[in-house]
């Protein structure tokens, strides 16, 4: 009875976003049959989308072991070895919903055995307590009975009696609404970030967004295809911000819109934008939050630069676009709000261009602005400089107000 009911529930899936050939995960959300969970503890299936870096394999194993039984892993991408069970993988162009559904049903009924631990299930350090109370030492700190120091960072004591103690923890690389691949070592005081350091950089922009832009380098490509890819990329970025301000339903709507834009459907972004505005999106993004200076904005380029007021856009010099009276849209404030408005405006503009010139073609090698920040040259600014002093939810908003290319350039691996 219980199993039959459970088998009919939406499949709870936790997504670990990989890098190479990572499929468009937002496609999953079109189906009401899939629930993307916020934590692995609530999921039955760990969905690995694309290949992960070797250095992230240990994180992936830890996430895997956090899933409650019965659990299974599902690989979605093109670079999986043949040793993976057919029921547990799909190519990136496939629609995996049916396979996920079947895998889930078999898990619930017991036909598919639950996966065992990948890591040893034991405390990282043995108990070394001694004495009457097991304290292993005298005084307040009580020795090191767990074989490690108190969970406090080796930084200077910043307490003044009215401040919480600080603690340091690693966050990433697989979290919802977190730049895929980014691992930060964050020192918190309560929920306010004291300092942050990059442990692993984020992944570059996904292939799924890059396809038309890469193709333009080698062959003649339709303007509509390029602009649709731009609108879809921006919609996915918008969706992450919407989710962070507590509008998960609008976020899902934005991601579904992105999928429909890619599938060449005619969609309107205006209703989504209005719904978000009515929900109080402006109030949720404090003015000045995540403001960057003009020099950084110029160095980053792309939407971040245009959100700072510079009308720099490669499309201004492209004859296909100038024939359509293209002028870049800009914002002035250069904060999270401005970058979000910039995404909305550019996505709307892209769709307007598509409907203005549905059949326009561009020659191979034509100069077109990518939807994200410049990917070179190296930059001497770290995203971690933006975070100290921010409350955790604000910090997430700031991180997610940049596209992945901008984050990559602001978070190269720091050599200690």
């Amino acid at each position: 009875m219980l199993e039959r009911l459970a088998a009919r529930a939406p499949v709870p899936v936790f997504v670990a976003m990989g890098r190479d050939r990572a499929p468009a995960v937002e496609r999953l959300l079109q189906s009401a049959d899939i629930d993307v969970t916020a934590t692995p503890r609530h999921a039955s299936i760990l969905l690995v989308a694309g290949r992960v870096r070797d250095s992230d394999q240990a994180y992936l194993d830890r996430i895997h072991d956090q899933l409650p039984h019965p659990r299974a892993t599902f690989w979605w991408g093109d670079e999986q070895g043949d040793d993976v069970d057919e029921a547990q993988r799909a190519a990136s162009f496939d629609d995996p919903v049916i396979s996920l559904r079947a895998l889930y049903r078999n898990l619930i009924s017991g036909a598919h055995a639950s996966e065992t631990h990948r890591l040893a299930d034991e405390p990282p350090a043995p108990w070394r307590g001694k004495g009457d109370h097991g304290q292993g030492g005298e005084g307040m700190m009580g020795g090191v009975p767990y074989g490690r120091m108190m969970p406090m960072p080796p930084t200077p004591d910043i307490r003044d009696g009215l401040a919480l103690d600080v603690y340091t923890t690693q966050i990433g690389p697989f979290m919802p609404y977190w730049p895929a691949g980014l691992v930060l070592e964050v020192t918190f005081q309560g929920d306010v970030i004291q300092s942050a350091e990059v442990v692993h950089p984020p992944y570059p922009p996904r292939d799924v967004d890059r396809v038309p832009f890469d193709r333009l380098l080698h062959e003649t490509t339709a303007l509509a295809q390029v602009e649709r890819a731009r609108a879809a990329h921006h919609l996915v970025c918008i969706a992450r911000v919407l989710s962070l301000v507590g509008l998960p339903t609008l976020s899902r709507r934005a991601q579904i819109l992105a999928v429909r834009v890619r599938a060449n459907e005619r969609v309107a972004i205006e209703p989504l934008r209005k719904a978000a505005a009515r929900a109080g999106l402006r109030a949720a993004l404090a003015p000045g939050l995540g403001r960057i200076d003009d020099r950084l904005a110029r160095e980053l380029g792309g939407p971040a630069q245009r959100a700072a007021g510079d009308a720099i856009d490669d499309r201004s010099d492209n004859p296909t676009y100038t024939r359509l009276d293209f002028t870049p849209v800009t914002q002035t404030k250069s904060d999270c709000r401005a970058r979000l408005a910039q995404w909305f405006n550019e996505a709307e503009q892209a769709l307007a261009l598509v409907s203005a010139a549905p059949d326009a073609m561009m020659d191979q090698g034509a100069l077109v602005e990518a939807p994200w920040a410049l990917r070179a040259p190296p930059i001497d600014y770290r995203v971690t400089e933006l975070l100290p002093g921010l409350e955790w939810s604000e910090a997430l908003l700031v991180l997610n107000s940049f596209d992945s290319a901008a984050l990559c350039r602001m978070a190269p691996l720091e050599v200690p």
Binding site: M140, D160, G161, L162
Partner: protein, 101 residues
């Protein structure tokens, strides 16, 4: 549930509270001991009011005053601890030795 049993329970709370007040090194734990003693006092006051005073409203008033005293004790206690911590970075009673010299 007679007045005697209620008062014995109250006495137990006061005794434990005294133990905590005298034995704890940390200021905050010391205040917990004081709170526990006041807890016993409140129980005794309500017990007397309920079983010997025939429901005279002033008896309840006494308990309300004890509650106010408790709040005052907490607030002033924490403020003092903060001030002491700022001045001497001490959060245990042994940290305060100025009166010895």
């Amino acid at each position: 549930m007679t007045l005697t049993t209620i008062l014995v329970v109250a006495a137990a709370l006061i005794g434990i509270g005294l133990y905590g007040t005298l034995s704890q090194q940390s200021f905050v734990m010391l205040m917990m001991g004081l709170e526990l003693m006041l807890n016993g006092v409140m129980l005794a006051a309500v017990g007397f009011w309920s079983l010997t005073a025939g429901g005279l409203p002033t008896g309840q008033l006494l308990t309300i005053i004890v509650m106010a005293v408790m709040a005052v004790e907490m607030a002033v206690g924490f403020a003092l601890i903060t001030a002491v911590y700022r001045n001497r970075q001490a959060d245990v009673t042994e940290g305060l030795t100025t009166l010895k010299h």
